[in-house]
Amino acid sequence: MARIHWRYGPPLYQPLIDILRLFTQRGVSHGRLFDLGMVLSLAGSLVVVLFLPFGGISPMSGSGGLLVVLYMMLLMPLGIALSGGEAANPNASIGISRKLILAMGYEVPLLLILLAVMTHYGSISIAEIVSAQRRTGASIASVPLVLSGIAYVLIMPAMLGVRPFEVVQAPQEISSGPMAEYGGAYLALATVQHALSAFIAISLFVNLLWGGASNPAVFFLKMLVVFVLVLFVNAAFPRLRVEQAVRYLWRWPSLIAFIGLILVVVVGR
């Protein structure tokens, strides 16, 4: 990111230093619900990470992987909303309403994409989908799924909360939204949770649509490529308003995902 801005930028391990510093700061708690919400959203994202196969290792993706992932994905915005609301900061409450609207915005196309992938491979366990792809080549290459692949790429910035859709943590407008009241250790947990949700979104993309990977190294490489691409998008666009973002999300990606779904059903039979 710094390179795009023509500047030298911090060393690579800067986020680690930030997290370490935050842990050592004495945060201010706003009551029990505040802490509970935090833990809830962190737990949600941790569980989801367990379900996603990371290269060869897939700890718990026995059965029903996709459905669990879908269910858990909603837990994260809920957790943040719960704790943000408790913090009684007007910026936080506006941030939460934006976060939920945005989550609703990208859930619709996401559902359509996952449905398309499931019907195409006829199974809901991610591991099987990955192994199926190894036989027939990456699913994004196969004709019907290319549309849902494109739709996924379009909603990727929204899921990561990155620039064109950085509506939730808009620092300039509502001073970093729901995170406004988090200090010290809470902020550390929140940043970790944000990083995890980014990890989930990208690994879901790589697993389902880009054919997963046999060993973690290749998988990590693919994720890096996707992340850098999203960063380029982030650097080039301003921030949209909430209603503009949702209007965009519901118009183009959902349309493409829907056509993809129909295509899969027609071709599949």
Binding site: L20, Q25, L187
Partner: protein, 185 residues
């Protein structure tokens, strides 16, 4: 980072963390703010030193008070300072917070900032240059190393004196005292 730094890191990781990630709360208090944007953007880039502007005092541990402090701003500065989580450092920026600077005879500006909130470092100069800010940041590093950057501890110990001064300057303050006033002064 050369070899002996690493030894120091493992010996006191928390201190290292505080040194290399000073998130400054973005609060344009006075005329010195005109030198902060060039510092955080491409040409001088304070991010190399880990100084990033943050939106809310909750996320910050460095407070740059840039330029003169008027009476109304002092009230906002005190609230922002008290909202910041504990290990926090303040740097007075320019000659006006030190002794009133050019507005020494103005009825609406505060003359000595360290009578109201503890200040760890000063940067002299009426609008100090960006290099002076980096000198201040590196100086703050050495202070943190030698545990001399203890503004927040001073604030905690003689809070009664600070509170009394604040009330003298601002009249009645509408928020409760931060620490229990154990020694009424």
């Amino acid at each position: 980072m050369d070899r002996n730094q690493l030894a120091k890191w493992f010996q006191a990781p928390t201190k290292m963390a505080h040194k290399y990630s000073l998130h400054a709360v973005y609060f344009c208090t006075g005329c010195g703010i005109i030198e902060v944007p060039p510092v955080i953007t491409a040409r001088w880039d304070a991010e190399r030193f880990g100084v990033i502007p943050t939106a809310t005092p909750r996320h910050a541990n460095l407070f740059l008070i840039t330029g003169y402090v008027s009476v109304k701003t002092l009230r906002a500065i005190i609230r922002t300072y008290e909202q910041m989580p504990e290990p926090k450092f303040t740097v007075g920026f320019g000659s006006c917070p030190i002794n009133g600077g050019m507005y020494w005879d103005s009825y609406n500006t505060i003359k000595h900032l360290d009578r109201y909130i503890p200040v760890d470092g000063w940067i002299a100069g009426c609008m100090p240059r960006p290099e002076a800010i980096f000198v201040a940041v590196t100086h703050l590093w050495t202070l943190i190393d030698k545990d001399m950057a203890d503004g927040y501890k001073r604030y905690r110990t003689n809070y009664a004196a600070y509170r009394a001064n604040q009330e003298r300057a601002l009249g009645e303050l509408e928020w409760p005292p931060l620490f229990p006033m154990e020694r009424g002064r």
